[in-house]
């Protein structure tokens, strides 16, 4: 590995971009153009760095790579970066979605463009920081810092109830995070290190693990979001601008899942095992209840937001089944959902830009007037439903394999969620795309522009890639997931005793 601090560059580049965008002089129009182009160039450069990271990554080891350490903030914490396969994949997801967000806001955001682009670049810095941090408090700093730009994005550029939504988003997630902070302070006071790898190897007393796990759970469950603390999500999604929704669904929700897999699971195996009924219970409720809620929504964004909650329940169920298929399936689900829900929000954004309403009943019969749009929307709908050859299928299938090994009932309930998911997504598609267009203004909408088609095409590529050749994405995950499994083995619940085809249920790896 060369001495280039590539992760620092990855994290700090958008920050410099944001400063440049904010302080560049010129006319209002010139500043806006400067902001758009700077943001696009910076995010594309980030994508290039991300790809370079992926190409240079050694998938055979669970160790952290590209490690950098500087004692800038002694005695409390240090600038300590490093990524393993799980972090790498989430970084790739983030840097992939950011240029799409910038392009999606190219014309739809007209007020305060420099501030908007700066907020997004800042967001990128903080998200990448979360995934690349190898120091506990550095992680917390990035994790919590993300609240500020997102608060501003929802509050300034959001819809009618933006202020209510921004408060709810901020205070909800802050309350979760501060409890986690206390747990972190306790951990450091006991283990005398802030290094995440060292803390993962440290054995906390099982009775303490209960409390630590609950504190981390409070933070990640809100971020995830899990039922019943999901209520901030539909509000935030509905009021956020399109690109804000994409980032929220695509990356911010993944912070919770990443937290579970990085902290809650390997650091507190006994604590995790103790709360399995809670996790599974909440996941099942979320899958079935929020799917039913999604069915009755009349607002497109709200429907997709509730479907996000249901899909995230797959992630939590998968991560906590204590076997390889479940954990890898959960992580794949995060990646897949990140792209698919991001793309679905982009699809909503396309028609919202034209008609300025998200009411499903205001659309209909778009297949006649917007055939290209109908095609892309169908691809992402099918991927969300989990059709084979799409990323949704691979991840849902892995999670189901994982859950069946631990409990048949859990697996069965999760399958119910897939059926309901197909129900609300297909019904949404039917109401928006098919039928006869009764609204003249909806029928008069022009089809996708070249820019919009390009964005959606770019989003469709990973959906099929993950669906047809998931090995590219699974390979980097094998080693770190193996390390987690080795760590949590001692607390693993006994696998379910299946009587008939026993040979087939044995895990292959």
């Amino acid at each position: 590995m060369s001495g280039l601090p590539i992760l620092s560059i990855l994290i700090l580049l958008p920050l410099f971009g944001a400063v440049w965008v904010l302080f560049a002089g010129g006319s209002e129009e010139g500043r806006a153009d400067n902001a758009r182009w700077t943001a696009l160039i910076v995010t594309l450069a980030e994508l290039a760095i991300g790809v370079a990271l992926w190409l240079g990554f050694d998938s055979s080891t669970a160790a952290f790579q590209y490690v950098e350490k500087r004692d800038l903030f002694a005695p409390w914490f240090s600038w300590h970066l490093g990524i393993d396969g799980i972090a790498l994949m989430l970084i790739i997801l983030s840097v992939f979605l950011m240029p799409l967000c910038i392009l999606a806001s190219w014309t739809s955001i007209q007020k305060r463009v420099p501030e908007y682009m700066a907020a997004f670049l800042l967001m990128e810095t903080l998200m990448l920081g979360v995934f690349a941090a190898k120091d506990l408090f550095l992680f917390y700093l990035f994790f919590e810092g993300g609240l500020i730009p997102m608060y501003l994005i929802i509050g300034i550029w959001g819809g009618a109830r933006r202020i209510y939504a921004s408060y709810k988003f901020f205070l909800y997630t802050l309350l979760g995070s501060v409890l986690m902070l206390l747990a972190m302070l306790y951990m450091v006071s006991v283990a005398h290190t802030t290094d995440i790898a060292a803390l993962t190897a440290y054995d906390f007393a099982p009775e303490v693990q209960t409390w630590l796990w609950l504190a981390f759970f409070a933070s990640f469950a809100v971020k995830m979001p899990m039922w019943p603390v999901h209520t901030w999500l539909p509000d935030a999604h509905v009021e956020a601008p399109t690109a804000g929704s994409v980032i929220l669904a695509g990356v911010l929700l993944k912070l919770g899942g990443y937290g579970f897999v990085r902290f809650a699971l390997p650091m507190f195996p006994e604590g995790s095992a103790q709360f399995l009924p809670l996790i599974f219970g909440l996941s099942v409720v979320a899958v079935i209840y929020t799917s039913l809620v999604a069915l009755v929504q009349t607002d497109m964004k709200k429907l997709i937001a509730y479907s996000s909650v249901a899909h995230m329940a797959f992630v939590t169920a998968g991560l906590f089944v204590f076997n390889r298929q479940g954990i890898e399936g959960g992580i794949m689900m995060m990646l897949s959902h990140g792209v698919i829900s991001g793309a679905l929000f982009l699809c909503v954004g396309v028609v919202y830009d034209r008609l300025h309403t998200r009411d499903i009943a205001r659309y209909g019969g778009l297949a006649n007037t917007m055939p290209r749009y109908a095609l892309f929307f169908m691809v992402f709908t099918m991927a969300s439903v989990g059709l084979p050859a799409t990323s949704g299928f691979v991840s849902e299938f892995l999670v189901l394999i994982g859950t069946y090994q631990i409990s048949t009932w859990l697996g069965a309930d999760m399958t119910m969620g897939i059926i309901l998911g197909a129900g609300y997504m297909l019904w949404l598609y039917r109401r928006v795309i098919f039928g006869v267009g009764v609204h003249a203004d909806a029928a008069a909408m022009p089809d996708l522009s070249l820019r919009e088609a390009g964005i959606l095409l770019a989003a469709a590529i990973p959906v099929f890639w993950m669906g047809i050749y998931p090995a590219s994405f699974l390979n980097p995950l094998h080693a770190p997931v193996g390390a987690i499994l080795a760590r949590i083995e001692r607390a693993a619940p006994p696998p379910v005793v299946v009587t008939a085809p026993r040979a087939k249920v044995q895990p292959t790896r």
Binding site: L72, Y140, F142, S166, L174, V178, L185
Partner: protein, 480 residues
């Protein structure tokens, strides 16, 4: 060397301030109010000299153990003199605009700074009282400096009456402690109370009275009632001063009294400090929610912040005290920065406005000012990566290490409640439709001060963590 001469040398910072105050007073008397601007700069210079003297001076006791110079007092003196100097500078545009530009302002600041220097260097309950009173008397006058305005006079009167009551309680406590413990010297008290079993109930009662008097000065609940009224009524630059240097000095005094003089009774005062901390954090957070006046809001914010700082004192460890010290340093900058922004709030005719609603949409008309104020608010709310998060981090760490879980849990819950009203200010700045624009500011000094403070609170300020924590730890080590 002659002991008197040696004592004077040890107390060089206070000496510089005394001479400076008398000198500026003389000049002012002869030259009149038109000398306000040069006198302010002279005052800043004198405070700078005193600060340098405090840092470079040799540690030691003076005046027969009444006064002590150590790393702890030096740390606080830098904060206090710095805060006082900024308070002198930020007042200039205000004094020029509101026809209250009398030369006494910098002189009173110097006298107050002298009292504060004595407070953090006090090594005896009596020198403590003298320093406290000197500081307070100057502050009472400053509060009613805008004497043509009823609100300002009311603030001064209220502050004076309640402050006198608090001083009386404090003195009564001192007399009780002297009666039952037999000394007023911190050193003697520290050794006689150390390891004593079955404490005299009289000493405990005296301790409670002393703490009540000191809690009044740091405006901790339940001795906080004066704070919102005085903050609102006093002229804004004076409020900025009250919220910064005297608060740091009183906190420094409180910590020294608790740790040095009553270190043997840690178990007893920890209960008091814990209850006061919890009450301050919660009431400070909840009380601010309904406020519509930005100065009252900042008053509750200061009550809230004092509660957080007291967590570090409740821990009663070197790390906890270092946390308090670090807290006060960062808080000083954040609060001075916030008040500097408040000072910029003037309507088209140049009259000061103080309502939250007048901040609406400031991000359209004054981008830089809005961004700076937003940074202070997020920083006061303790959201990382802004610097304001780290003092809270420091005191919470100390509390966790001492297993004071209740304090830590209440603390984080209060910080979430408190986040709401800081967010409300940011909402006004960024989300709302613009209110009438403020008059343009022409003070470069104030603009520069705001810029420096905002940079310090920004994530860039985290680079200052290492040196500041090292200094705070060295200062705290002087007490143990």
């Amino acid at each position: 060397m002659n002991p008197t001469f040696a004592s004077i040398q040890t107390a060089a910072p206070e000496l510089a301030l005394t001479v400076g105050a008398l000198l500026t007073l003389m000049i002012g008397v002869f030259r009149g109010d038109r000398s306000l601007v040069p006198l302010t700069w002279v005052c800043v210079l004198i405070l700078g000299i005193a600060g340098v003297a405090a840092v470079t001076g040799a540690p030691g006791e003076a005046f027969g153990g009444l006064y002590v110079a150590d790393a702890y007092s030096a740390y606080f003196k830098v904060l206090i003199f710095g805060g006082a100097a900024v308070s002198a500078l930020l007042a200039l545009p205000y004094l020029a605009k509101t026809e209250t530009g009398r030369f006494e302002y910098p002189v009173l600041l110097l006298l107050s700074a002298l009292g504060m220097g004595m407070m953090v260097s006090a090594h005896d309950l009596l020198s403590l009282y003298v320093g406290l009173e000197l500081q307070s008397l100057a502050a009472y006058v400053l509060a009613s400096f805008n004497r043509n305005e009823a609100r300002s006079s009311e603030a001064g009167l209220k502050y004076f009456i309640l402050g006198a009551l608090a001083s009386g309680i404090l003195l009564y406590g001192i007399s009780l402690v002297y009666g039952f413990a037999g000394s007023t010297s911190f050193v003697a008290l520290g050794s006689s109370l150390h390891g004593a079993t079955g404490h005299e109930i009289g000493v405990l009662v005296g301790l409670v009275f002393i703490l009540a008097g000191l809690m009044f000065k740091v405006s901790a609940v339940p001795f906080h009632m004066w704070t919102p009224d005085v903050y609102e009524g006093a002229p804004t630059p004076v409020t900025a001063f009250f919220a910064s240097a005297p608060k740091a000095a009183a906190m420094g005094l409180l910590v020294r009294v608790c740790v040095e003089a009553f270190g043997g009774l840690t178990f007893d005062w920890r209960q008091i400090v814990s209850v006061v901390a919890i009450a301050s954090m919660l009431l400070g957070a909840a009380g601010a929610i309904g406020q519509t006046n930005i100065k009252r809001l900042l008053a509750y914010s200061s009550i809230n912040n004092v509660g957080f700082a007291l967590i570090g004192l409740a821990a009663a460890t070197p790390d906890g005290v270092a946390g308090v010290l670090f807290y006060m340093a960062v808080y000083l900058v954040m609060t001075l920065g916030s008040f500097l922004c408040v000072l910029q709030m003037r309507d088209a005719e140049g009259r000061p406005v103080e309502t939250l609603a007048s901040l609406n949409g400031l991000s359209r008309s004054r981008k830089g000012l809005a961004a700076a104020l937003a940074a202070f608010m997020f920083s006061l709310a303790g959201i990382p990566p802004l610097l304001g998060f780290w003092p809270k981090f420091a005191v919470f760490t100390a509390a966790m290490e001492e297993r004071l879980y209740l304090l830590a849990v209440v603390g984080v819950v209060a910080s979430v409640i408190g986040a709401y009203y800081y967010l409300r200010v940011v909402k006004s700045l960024y989300f709302d439709e613009p209110a009438p624009a403020f008059a343009a500011s022409n003070s470069r000094v104030n603009a520069a001060l705001i810029g420096v403070a905002a940079l310090f609170c920004s994530p860039l300020g985290m680079l200052a963590i290492t040196p500041m924590v090292a200094a705070a730890r060295a200062a705290a080590a002087a007490l143990f």
